[in-house]
């Protein structure tokens, strides 16, 4: 493996990101308002930007690692992440765009007219965001260690510095194009090697024995119905509750176009997951010796030099490294922006200086956590964050959009029950271990019952409370009414 080439790729990604960022900033200077500028962005770019922010180290490196480690069960993760956008499309995209809220706390505050509910939402958003950044930093450590034999803390610290620095400098907010570029880079960085691998493998003899490489027990036949259902529901609903997902819909001009943008996102992330899954299948054929926890996640980085020796393999490795860096940067910077605006609004009345300090703070905390913990499987860590978001925030968001009688107390109670029960289950799962049969399964995949508990609590407390906000009818009618015409929108917006 050629370390110099990989480091050159890393530097190139950082430089290109900075250049596009500065160029994007200049474009937004020429218009009166960034948000108006972003409405001139074509849906394809908008969808690319959303996908660029969404696809993280979890699926870039983690998916192929988990396919190698535990078989076809791993495919449920990308299926859940993609189908989550179907849920966003059908239940959330247009109403949230029409709400005009930029962040989840904004939406909850406007909908329930409660400062307490807002503060609690902000706290949960912060926790979810931090938990989500940690695996990105772990991924960065892992990647740099593999390609250039650099100590783990360097990778995590580098990504944290780049992300925290660029967000604090004020760059990332206006850069739809940066995220869009990072998406296409990530897709190319998996799809191009996948095609090369497939060609190489099809030419090699002897053929592999499918029954050994793809054993039936690790395939779809070994499906656990409860664990799969619980995981899928957690992943689907978790997408709705992620802090950096909602923000991007605001760049669509209308609720209707927000829907088409979401359709675009589903197409783009599906293409990415198909490429990523292909790498996973190839990993089982070509690198079975890497099937050990901690090492498996590096398989996407190691495949090129194994399958294609020489300079071509080095170039492909550099491409994969660049894509992995794009995955860490895109997701972390999107998250840090969302978190910093939430922190600076809620704690410091949203001044620019406070936004910058918030960006530093929001990067520093997960960096400390990342340095203090050992990387677990990347895709499962990200999955856990989704399940937590699905338990703590998603029920309240969905009820807020679709159920008139939700009250502030109901929402607060639901969020607390969801967050506490999910945390307890995860701690309990670590304590009990995998050996306790049904209990282990219930604790390891808690989504099904924690989400139900949070939803039921919200509904029951709201009904008993009965203090439906006076503005509920007005807000709901706004969330669900189509915009009248583009002309009026331009005049009003």
């Amino acid at each position: 493996m050629n370390a110099a080439l990989s480091i050159a790729a890393i530097v190139a990604v950082v430089v290109v990101t900075a250049v596009i960022g500065i160029w994007g900033l200049r474009i937004s200077r020429t218009t009166s308002d960034f948000f108006v500028a972003s409405r001139t962005v074509r849906p394809v770019w908008n969808a690319s930007a959303i996908s660029g922010e969404y696809l993280s180290a979890g699926t870039f490196l983690g998916l192929s690692g988990l396919v190698l480690l535990s078989g076809s069960d791993a495919f449920w993760f990308p299926i859940g992440y993609a189908a989550g956008y179907l849920l966003v499309l059908m239940l959330v995209a247009a109403p949230l765009r029409r709400s005009g809220a930029y962040t989840i706390p904004d939406f909850i505050h406007a909908r329930l007219d409660s400062l307490l509910a807002r503060r609690l939402t902000s706290a949960l958003v912060l926790i979810i965001g931090w938990l989500y950044i940690v695996p990105q930093l772990h991924g960065a450590s892992l990647a740099l260690t593999v390609v250039a034999d650099i100590p783990p803390w360097v990778g995590a610290t580098t990504v944290a510095l780049v992300v925290g620095g660029s967000v604090a400098a004020g760059g990332m907010r206006s850069i739809t194009f940066v995220q869009a570029f990072l998406f296409w880079l990530k897709l190319a960085a998996l799809a191009v090697p996948a095609i090369f691998f497939a060609i190489t493998l099809s030419g090699t003899e002897p053929r592999i024995d499918p029954a050994l490489v793809f054993p039936q027990g690790l395939g779809p036949a070994g499906l656990d119905a409860y664990a799969t259902t619980s995981l899928l529901i957690g992943l689907l609903l978790g997408t709705v509750g992620l802090p950096h997902v909602l923000v991007r819909f605001y760049t669509s001009p209308t609720g209707g176009s927000a829907r088409w943008t979401t359709v675009g996102v589903i197409v783009l992330i599906s293409a990415f997951y198909i490429a990523s899954s292909t790498i996973g299948l190839i990993a089982r054929i070509a690198a079975p010796d890497l099937a050990a926890p901690g090492v498996a996640d590096t398989v996407a980085l190691q495949l090129p030099s194994r399958l294609i020796p020489g300079p071509a393999g080095d170039l492909l490795t550099a491409l994969v490294v660049a894509g992995a860096l794009a995955a860490f940067l895109g997701t972390s910077s999107g998250l840090v922006v969302s978190l910093s605006s939430a922190v600076s609004q809620d704690l410091f009345h949203g001044t620019v200086t406070s936004f910058r300090w918030a960006a530093v703070f929001c990067t520093f905390v997960p960096l400390v956590v990342a340095l203090a913990t050992a990387p677990q499987g990347l895709v499962t860590s990200v999955g856990t964050v989704f399940v937590f978001a699905a338990s703590a925030l998603s029920p309240v968001i969905l009820l807020g959009i679709w159920w008139r009688r939700l009250t502030a107390r109901g929402a607060v109670a639901g969020m607390i029950v969801g967050a506490v029960s999910c945390t307890a289950a995860l701690i309990g799962s670590a304590a009990v271990g995998p050996g306790a049969g049904a209990l282990s399964s219930l604790l390891a995949q808690p989504g099904l019952w924690t989400i139900s508990a949070a939803t039921l609590t919200s509904v029951i407390v709201s009904l008993v409370d009965g203090r439906t906000p006076v503005s509920a009818d007005r807000i709901l009618s706004r969330l669900h009414s189509p915009e009248r015409s583009r002309g009026e929108l331009a005049a009003g917006g």
Partner: protein, 136 residues
Amino acid sequence: MTENGTGGGAERRRGASRPPRERVTSIDAASARTDPAPRTGRWAVGEAETLFTRTLMRAQGRLAIVCLLSFGVALVLVTVVMSRIPLLDAIVLGGVPLSWLIHAYGFYPLMVIWAVGYTLACQRLEGRFTQLVEHE
């Protein structure tokens, strides 16, 4: 808070200086409370309109639930087919059993089909609603 609800305020604040994002979006407690009684410019809340929007909301909710349930059924069907038919493990394409291939690739086309179908249906629904309101 909201694009329309604080539109005037946001406009004023935008005019004052370069637009740092927070000032446009901020909904700190103080400003939220001093805002005038919120009214939406787009749809004034007449009684007939409330009725219309409630009907529309229910129709959209029904559409979303029908689409989600049917997608769920399709998901379960594909899952059952790939996990409970041993023959699919025996068919090998390019070195990979068909059941694994279905698991890796088979669900994404379904999502795209459902996403496009739902969006078209929703557009029709909202188009009908807009016509209805503008006739009033």
